[in-house]
């Protein structure tokens, strides 16, 4: 049962998506800087891999954004059906991440990846029906 109006619902969904995009881009950027975790674990063990990750300020900022997104999600699903909040915020996150990955991470978001983002976004919305 929904306990929120449209403005509160979509503000919550957009907040979840925006903080999720920030978290994804910051952690992806941090992991790119750190390098292949499998290689690090092979050289330095699991403790070395964990140390390499948690000593990255960019990673910690990303985790803070993800924590904010998590609490926004908890707050949102307490007021609006999870069947609306989860797919809607996920769809917005996919599109937001495609833009952010292109402009901040300089990923090669070619036609194939744009199509993938759009197909996944549309598919997640259809799952709501």
């Amino acid at each position: 049962m929904s306990h929120a109006g449209p403005l509160e619902t979509w503000t919550g969904i957009i907040l979840v998506a925006t903080t999720a995009v920030a978290g994804d881009v910051l952690t992806a950027g941090a992991m790119r800087r750190i390098g292949d975790l499998d290689l690090i674990r092979a050289k330095s063990g699991l403790a070395g891999a964990v140390r390499a990750v948690v000593s990255s300020p960019m990673f910690l900022l990303g985790v803070a954004s993800m924590a904010l997104s998590f609490f926004s999600l908890l707050f949102a699903v307490s007021k609006v059906e999870v069947s609306l909040v989860a797919p809607a915020s996920a769809s917005l996150t996919f599109l937001g991440n495609a833009f952010a990955a292109k402009f901040f991470l300089k990923e090669n978001v070619d036609r194939r990846r744009w199509l993938a983002a759009l197909f996944v976004c549309a598919g997640v919305f259809l799952l709501l029906k």
Partner: protein
């Protein structure tokens, strides 16, 4: 150069998919039991973390995070993310064949679109060709040990 994935790397992507889907479902179920959280009482979100379904959901999402970070260390964000969406397909198929719930035509259409989307990226390279900095960082970290 086309970056292809090993069997182990594909299994990490499968773990990303399953733990995200199950974790979200458990969290949703737990929060429905907790009930609405008023904006003036955000501290109730901490109380919600005592709910067993929320705790189970959090454990699943910790597993998701570990596999997600591992995947991001050798693949692009725009390659890894569609695999998380594949979790919705898994949930819909489980609802149909395990819980015997009705899955509408719209949902089947959604499943087809997500499978196509995942297929687009799965067929392409997993990493953009400017990962020299990351490789250099890996060597530096290895050298420091």
């Amino acid at each position: 150069m086309k970056h292809t994935l090993s069997l182990g790397q594909y299994s990490v992507l499968v773990a990303v998919t399953l733990t995200a889907a199950v974790g979200d479902t458990l969290l949703g179920h737990g929060m429905q039991q907790v009930g609405p959280v008023p904006i003036a009482h955000l501290g109730m979100l901490l109380v919600a973390m005592r709910n067993p379904w929320v705790i189970l959901g959090i454990f699943c999402l910790i597993g998701f995070f570990a596999s997600y970070l591992t995947a991001l260390s050798w693949a692009d964000l725009t390659f890894v993310l569609p695999s998380t969406a594949f979790g919705y397909v898994v949930v819909a198929l489980l609802s149909k064949y395990w819980l015997h719930e009705a899955v509408s035509r719209y949902r089947w259409a959604g499943i087809v679109l997500i499978v196509c989307g995942v297929g687009f990226v799965a067929n392409g390279p997993s990493l953009t060709e400017h990962a020299v900095a990351g490789e250099k960082a890996t060597e530096e970290i290895g050298g420091l040990r």
